[in-house]
Subunit: 234 residues, 2 copies
């Protein structure tokens, strides 16, 4: 029975890694679509997002089935419950990649953001891709040093997010209202993508260290924040 | 054993209703703080958000404990797992109320949005409050007609969200970039608040009707959308 359970946990893990791989492809394509104004790539991201949703839903069914059949307790139960939460966050990361792609498609053949902001978004996109890959590796190897590196990369994304707002709210900004709206939302999508990855990394870390008290998303949103321009609280 | 389980389910339900009541207070105060530029109320929302987070975390612990002790299966298990998801969404609704309050505090003593947008935001805020109350009632009474009414109210919020963007992107908009940023984020917070409520309502509905296939968040974000101004996809 125990062996069967371990096999099933391993199946859950494989599926999380598989979903993470799909999220990597989505964010890579979305970032390229956004940066290069590539509408075909954007369409691809939008078209394949339901696949990620289906995979997450199917993993949830498996997790619930495992709980029902195996009645795990203690740490085993927490691992399966965490898988449910991790799949929800991965699914949301896929949605955010899709939102970035939707912006690229909507503005095609124009760029979503003006030239002055493109280096910042390119950097933010590169960090998001890096974070998605670290997350996949963390789910695959449980190497907790990746969780710490991932948090560092997220701090970098937060800084870039603030940079976007400093620029938009600065005296040299000449963007039309629609450009300001797009830059605001695009920056937020990039930042939330990284946030979800950090939330997942924390769950993996807490499962490994046994400190359950940290296993909730709320805290990540409650951290004291540096002073930011208004509206950059999330 | 069965009676104990039913008692525990009833405790879970009571706690969800309790958290929903706190969310109602938060969104009511946040909407008033936002509309009246009331910094004391904004501070209150910001200060009490950790209470909602703690209540959600504590409910999660209870739910996991129930699964471990009672080994529920089939519908019973799905009810407890859904409680985990519902608490996460309620917690997030509290965060969004907090984000609205943060905007109000940041711009105090000024209004966050110009006079031309205030009626739209007042209406959106009123709908969010109404939605939070319907959600609380739904969790308390399981009256599924509330789920349908809630979805109708959410459609109204979506329309108001589009109205905000039509206005911001229209020819008469003279807001500075920071006002455009604030209006964009504020509108999104109001809209996401309602989205989370709809997600919860769907879970309650699916639990009651036994149609598990609909019990995932992904779908709500995949619905075909009316043509919107760019950047209003989420």
């Amino acid at each position: 029975m125990r062996d069967v359970f371990q096999q099933e946990l391993s199946e859950v893990q494989d599926r999380l890694v598989d979903i993470a791989n799909h999220v990597i492809v989505s964010i890579e394509s979305a970032v390229r679509a956004f940066g290069d104004s590539n509408v075909q790539l954007a369409e691809q991201v939008i078209a394949t997002d339901p696949l990620i949703d289906d995979k997450a839903a199917s993993l949830d069914e498996l997790a619930i089935d495992i709980i029902a059949r195996q009645s795990p307790v203690a740490r085993d139960l927490r691992i399966v419950v965490s898988a449910l939460r991790i799949s929800a966050s991965l699914e949301r990361m896929g949605d955010l990649a899709r939102h970035i792609a939707l912006l690229a498609r909507y503005r095609f053949p124009m760029q979503v953001v003006p030239e002055s902001l493109q280096p910042t978004f390119a950097e933010m996109g590169a960090r998001d891709i890096e974070i998605a890959k670290m997350l996949r590796d963390l789910l695959e190897t449980q190497d907790l040093s990746l969780a710490d590196r991932l948090e560092t990369a997220d701090n970098h994304v937060d800084q870039l997010h603030r940079d976007v707002f400093s620029h938009v709210l600065g005296t040299t900004w000449e963007g039309a209202a629609h450009t300001t709206v797009d830059a605001t939302l695009a920056s937020r999508y990039h930042e939330r993508f990284a946030d979800h990855a950090v939330g997942i990394a924390k769950k993996v870390k807490y499962l490994a260290t046994g400190d359950w008290t940290g296993d909730d998303d709320a805290r990540s949103d409650m951290a004291p924040e540096p002073v930011r321009p208004a509206g950059v609280q999330d």
